[in-house]
């Protein structure tokens, strides 16, 4: 472990419906950090966590495959290690240096079924609620494709939030009726055509000038609008309640919306540049419906940013 100033660790829980992409999100974290270049990297805090990190990353990069469905609740500790510029000294003699900062991510990745409307498996469900209650940061993964097809995001969200609130109502941090958590609401699967087209029609696509590949993104300021629209066109008819429920339980200043994709868009290795005529990064497998594979390299979008935002909020740093 690098010599550094370790901040107190706050748990970050991944929360979302089955196959919404929670585990894939984590798999893409290391790749996303590598692509960003110099500032941050992620390592495992212990052997088990390192093994997990390596396995998940290798699945994506070497096998171009998705992780197995999570069973039970997986917990592991990763460390985000980065260089942060600092300055010190008096007014006229400021010195600049770089400080190595380590942020512990106590990650909880629960199988999506546990987050459903309560059926059975009470003990594991309680464990999930416990782990959510213990954490202070939540990455809520919203799966628009599941919402189009099944339309049950609200059922999942409502039940869990109610139980969580019930568990924490006696806690001193539960003030003003708000749960104390910071929530990064991630609209996942931005690379899926239906989500991409919705964003396109709403004129929310933009290119990051610093990105030499020219990959499209949706600005964080516009993410909530896209979320609202995706809820509108969903199959269930209850999706618009999701937004309301989240904003009822979590303080609006503690929620931020992101449009994310763990695998990103297809970039033809021969051309090295994003081509809007050919954007799909998923290949159906030959034996339909076998497991889909990832077509090209993985270019995650907004996988690091939600975690960094959460950690900064949890550390009490001002600003975004």
């Amino acid at each position: 472990m690098p010599p550094s100033q370790e901040r107190p660790d706050y748990g970050i829980a991944m929360w979302g419906a089955p196959s919404s992409g929670k585990t894939t999100f984590l798999s893409a974290l290391s790749i996303a950090l590598t692509r960003r270049g110099k500032d941050w990297k992620v390592i495992g805090a212990d052997k088990a966590a390192t093994e997990r990190l390596v396995n998940l990353t290798t699945l994506l990069t070497r096998n171009h495959a998705f992780p197995l469905a999570t069973q039970g609740i997986e917990g592991f500790r990763w460390l985000l290690v980065g260089q942060v510029p600092r300055s010190t000294g008096k007014r006229f003699r400021k010195e600049r240096y770089e400080e190595t900062v380590t942020i512990g991510l106590d990650l909880v990745d629960a199988s999506g079924e546990l987050a459903g409307p309560v059926g059975s498996a009470i003990s594991k469900r309680e464990e999930l609620i416990d782990s959510l209650a213990r954490s202070r940061g939540i990455v809520f993964i919203f799966d628009p494709i599941r919402e189009f097809e099944v339309g049950d995001t609200f059922d999942h969200t409502f039940a869990v939030l109610n139980e969580l609130a019930q568990q924490m109502v006696a806690s001193p941090e539960f003030s003003g009726g708000w749960l104390p958590h910071y929530v990064a609401v991630c609209i996942a699967k931005f690379d899926e055509l239906r989500v991409f087209r919705t964003a396109e029609k709403m004129h929310l696509l933009m290119a990051d000038p610093a990105d030499r590949l020219g990959l499209p993104r949706v600005a964080d300021e516009d993410a909530r609008e896209l979320f609202a629209r995706l809820c509108e066109v969903s199959g269930g008819g209850t999706a618009d309640l999701v937004l309301n429920t989240l904003e009822q339980h979590f303080h609006p200043g503690r929620i931020k919306y992101f449009v994310t994709s763990a695998i990103g868009f297809f970039v033809d290795p021969r051309k090295g540049v994003y081509d809007p005529d050919d954007i799909q990064n998923l290949l159906p497998s030959e034996k339909e419906p076998g497991s889909p594979r990832i077509r090209g390299n993985v270019y995650p979008i907004n996988v690091v940013e939600p975690l960094l935002w959460l950690t900064r909020q949890l550390m009490g740093e001002p600003g975004e």
């Binding site: 093994e51 039970g72 917990g75 498996a121």
Partner: protein
């Protein structure tokens, strides 16, 4: 129905069962089917989730667990985690791993001391999709416990007495059957009372949080959490001579080492 080997006894048991998995249109795991009997859907869902070994890369694997039903009946269970011959995929294209769970009142088996390997071999024949709702009645050969795995099984048995779970690492290359036989060997060295409430798994995910297995194999040890006692970690094939640090465990280990040549049937009663 298996025939009792000549000279041995056979035990008849009636096993209740459950099937856990997904259909091709499901996204999440659930109880697919179960037998008539004392246990109901809620019991099965609870116990199958509690004793899940996590997402398994290599299959098949076996978990052994127990449950009590209404405070009186103690059930012992063997769960086989495997994929079907024709690989099946769920609604998102992810491979489905099925769990076949078989359980019976502990007392039915105690008399015969049937090994887990025998149980696995018998029950793995049953395709629960075509079983209807009836519990499975079968006869199993009572096998005397085999030769223990040298010093390691003794040590692990002694460590289990401390109440802390035992995690065995370094057995990745060893086949699943060998691991199951090891579990059999360890169990046969334990007092009867302990066996009733001992859960074991031939493999668990290292990052699986809060699993309840007392004896399990993994690729790396579990990270310790604040307030939780850590596991004993034993490295496969590397016998450890040092004392355990627990008096009663050390005593027990010493006694096992001296008595191991005696028929271990003594412990089974």
């Amino acid at each position: 129905m298996s025939e009792a080997p000549t000279g041995g006894t056979s035990v008849a048991i009636t096993a209740e069962w459950a099937l856990w998995g997904k259909t091709s249109s499901d996204r999440g795991y659930r109880l697919l089917d179960y037998s008539e009997g004392n246990l109901g859907a809620d019991n099965y869902s609870e116990v199958l989730t509690r004793y899940s070994p996590g997402a398994l890369e290599e299959l098949p694997q076996v978990t052994i667990s127990w449950s009590s039903h209404r405070e009186e009946l103690n059930y012992l269970a063997l769960a086989i985690h495997d994929r079907e011959e024709q690989r099946r995929y769920d609604a998102d294209g992810r491979e489905i791993v099925f769990t076949r769970y078989f359980c019976w009142p502990y007392d039915d088996l105690a008399a015969g001391a049937v090994s887990y390997m025998t149980l696995y071999e018998e029950f793995s024949r049953f395709d629960l999709r075509t079983q209807g709702r009836a519990p499975i009645k079968t006869e199993l050969a009572a096998t005397p416990p085999g030769v223990p795995y040298g010093g390691q099984a003794l040590r692990v048995a002694a460590l289990l007495l401390t109440g802390k779970p035992v995690c065995i690492v370094g057995a990745d290359r060893v086949g699943f059957r060998e691991r199951l036989q090891f579990v059999d060997a360890v169990m046969s060295l334990l007092p009867y009372g302990m066996r009733r409430r001992l859960s074991a798994s031939t493999w668990t995910s290292s990052t699986l949080q809060g699993h309840k297995f007392r004896l399990f194999f993994a690729s790396t040890p579990r990270p310790t959490r604040d307030g939780q006692p850590g596991d004993h970690v034993v490295e496969w094939g590397r016998p450890h001579g040092a004392p355990t640090g627990y008096d009663y465990a050390d005593d027990y280990l010493a006694w096992l080492e001296s008595e191991v040549k005696r028929p271990a049937a003594q412990l089974a009663t």
